[in-house]
């Protein structure tokens, strides 16, 4: 597999961690209480840490003097390959937890496969990530249950978030051309094969939480091709602000 394709493959994983980490870090200082604030910041730190490992590897693969920061901050919107799910805004805690849960379940299944990658660096990043993401998944599953089977109000709010966000979950399993190539070389993961287990895991938690998966006929997609929602531009304006306003400087 060509380096450029491999890099694109890695973006497909790493950009999710960056964008979700960015979204979570927007919440630091605004959580429903101190303990939860601290916990969610830990997840943000895990995700940003993973992002750095992937980007540092990409920088190394690129061979020029690119850095993790060039990759994180200086691409154009179309060059980010994260799924639409992770860029969705922090509307209320129910949305934050649902978005997290939908991603965590997928993330865990993905890393469990990626640890068998023939690419040693990716395999190592995945192995380290599994420990972190197992905890994320536990955290978000527990909260889904609390909100779902908590009060009437919380049930309604989290179900509303689910109904709104479920349409973004199908994209998690789409295979791009780069994904196909990575799979052929035993570097990447067959995400299509993860879907059945995914739905089953989500359903198990929802059953306990008295929540339901909505019947969605139409799923949204585009992020993996770099066609993002309108939210993405604002997210990037924040993320890239310093690097764009003060180019070519050391920080």
């Amino acid at each position: 597999m060509k380096n450029e394709n491999k890099i694109q493959y890695i973006y497909g994983i790493a950009d999710n961690a960056l964008i979700l980490g960015q979204r979570l870090s927007e919440l630091c200082g605004h959580g429903p209480n101190l303990e939860t604030d601290i916990a969610m910041t830990n997840m943000a730190l895990d995700l940003l840490g993973q992002t750095r490992s992937y980007y540092q590897y990409v920088a190394q693969l690129s061979g020029d003097d690119k850095t993790e920061d060039d990759i994180a901050f200086l691409r154009s919107e179309r060059q980010y390959k994260n799924v639409l799910l992770v860029e969705q805004p922090n509307r209320h805690f129910g949305y934050v937890i649902t978005r997290q849960f939908f991603y965590d379940v997928f993330h865990l299944l993905l890393l469990q496969e990626l640890q068998n990658s023939s690419d040693e660096t990716l395999s190592a990043i995945a192995k380290k990530g599994i420990k972190e993401v197992s905890y994320h998944q536990r955290f978000s599953s527990d909260w889904i249950k609390r909100l779902g089977d908590g009060t009437e109000e919380s049930h309604q709010k989290v179900q509303e978030a689910i109904d709104d966000l479920w349409r973004f979950t199908d994209e998690l399993f789409h295979m791009t051309d780069d994904d196909d190539m990575a799979l052929q070389d035993n570097i990447g993961v067959n995400t299509i094969a993860l879907k059945e287990r995914y739905v089953q895991m989500v359903k198990e938690v929802f059953d306990e939480a008295t929540l339901t998966i909505p019947e969605t006929k139409w799923f949204q997609k585009g992020g993996k091709q770099g066609v993002h929602s309108e939210h993405m531009g604002y997210l990037l304006s924040d993320l890239q602000y310093m690097q764009r306003a003060y180019p070519n400087m050391k920080w």
């Binding site: 101190l34 303990e35 601290i38 009060t151």
Partner: protein, 94 residues
Amino acid sequence: MKNNWPLWEVFVRSKNGLEHRHFGSLHAADAEMALENARDVYTRRNEGVSIWVVESKHITASNPENSEELFDPAQDKVYRHPTFYTLPDEVKHM
């Protein structure tokens, strides 16, 4: 609703071989959450390998007003300490 999360006490074992030590307290709605919060709050810098949490209301504490009757009587029981017993200098390790 004004139902506030109860207070929990957190005990952390810093490494195997050491006892759990009181680290502090926090609020959580249930035991599972208390454990998770304790992990996130008190072991951010690798401080622990094992955590206990107990809801604060379950701890029974001695009353400091009774501390004289509870603890002073132990002060003069010198025979409980090795230095109370005289041995010849020749006996080196005992």
